[in-house]
């Protein structure tokens, strides 16, 4: 099990963000994306998640093209973007419940999984509060709690620590470590320090000419 990226290039709106990107990620490994604003970190994550077609190059999973079989690719990854995907009209617990159901947890397991995830994220007290009333950090915690609801090998995280307080950052660190210990892979974009040991680092420069 390994993710290999070969000569990847990305174009947004006729502008080339990066090109000739190569890296390989084995189980338990983590990759930290760095680069100035607008350098293409989020775009790279969206590309790896299969939202954006690569302008050039290949993404391989165990040597086979990863993006072609969209269903299999979806099954092995979890994506967390800049947005929290919290529905403001639904309660905090109901927000998670929906994702648990969507990810196909069985009805009995669902309740337990949601309770466990809320506990882990420190949102027990907010369980019945509408998503719209949560504070910014509480919303981000809720988004992170979703990671616990679906087993996936590859986590793609876009600035997960935004709006988190220190204790939540520590919790995220534990999450990441546990995921890697189970053989998971992580690609994470961030401008600030993230509790992620021995991560490799990929610097994206400002976009260049097509």
């Amino acid at each position: 099990m390994a993710l290999t990226v070969e000569q990847l290039a990305c174009i947004r709106g006729e502008r080339q963000l990066f090109s000739d990107l190569n890296f390989r990620l084995a189980p338990g490994e983590a990759l930290l994306l760095h680069g100035p604003n607008g350098s293409g970190k989020s775009s790279l994550l969206r590309l790896l998640a299969g939202f954006l077609p690569p302008a050039h190059g290949r993404v391989l999973w165990d040597g086979a093209p990863a993006l072609e079989d969209a269903e299999a690719h979806r099954a092995r990854l979890q994506y967390l973007g800049h947005q929290d995907a919290v529905k403001s009209q639904l309660g905090t617990g109901d927000n998670l419940l929906f994702w648990a159901r969507l990810y196909g947890l069985d009805p009995v397991g669902t309740e337990q999984a949601v309770t466990a995830a809320l506990d882990a994220a420190g949102l027990q007290r907010q369980r019945h509060l509408q998503g719209g009333y949560l504070s910014a950090g509480q919303k981000r915690r809720l988004a992170l709690a979703r990671l616990l609801l679906k087993p996936a090998t590859l986590w793609l995280l876009d600035e997960p620590t935004n709006a988190l307080d220190t204790s939540a950052v520590a919790w995220l660190g534990e999450l990441l470590a546990a995921h890697r210990a189970k053989g998971g892979m992580i690609i994470l974009a961030s401008h600030v320090d993230v509790p992620l040991k021995d991560a490799r680092r990929l610097d994206l420069p400002e976009g260049k000419l097509a």
């Binding site: 998640a49 077609p53 994506y79 947005q83 929906f98 159901r101 969507l102």
Partner: protein
Amino acid sequence: MSAFLAIVARDLRLGFGAQGAMLTTLLFFVLAVSLFPLGVGPEPQILARIAAGVIWVAALLAAMLSLDRLFQTDQEDGTLDLLAQAPLPLGLVALAKTLAHWLTTGLPLSLIAPLLAILLQMEGDAIPVLLGALLLGTPSLSLIGAIGAALTLGAKRGAVLVPLLTLPLVIPVLIFGVGAVEAAAYGLSAGPHLLLLGAFLAGALALSPLAIAAAVRLALE
């Protein structure tokens, strides 16, 4: 299947709950239909003559009301990204959302239509046909409307653009729908019209998930 139902259930809660979308649709429908007796005057023959057309056009227009937001709110808060990553083909996700839309617009509107038909002095025999035709026809409206909603994701002036794109495409529903009711009113068989409505629905059911999925994927790029 459970993932499918989860989406339907969620959209129903979002639709019924905060937005009051269903009530708006119903009220608009009733208001639109009840306006015509005012203009036309109380002559029963004329009212009866226009009843089927007015009810169908009002249904068509009412279905457009909340349509532009079918995917948009989910896109704006990042939910659509994750729905596209769900262990469920995007076409089915779209179908689930469209079903929820129909359950909050087409269905209640069909159920209240017989009452309006009575107010408009529609022929008694035609009323069950009206109900059946609406139940067969309104899902097509939601399906084709959902294509329009998906295509205008991220576009400017989506609210007006969606009806502009979809109304021309749903004209067959209007024509067969009215045809069924008028046939019944004249004592003819409504069967062929209903069959055509059903065939249109089958076609829409088969093709629109593909178109919607393609359009949504485009919007996520």
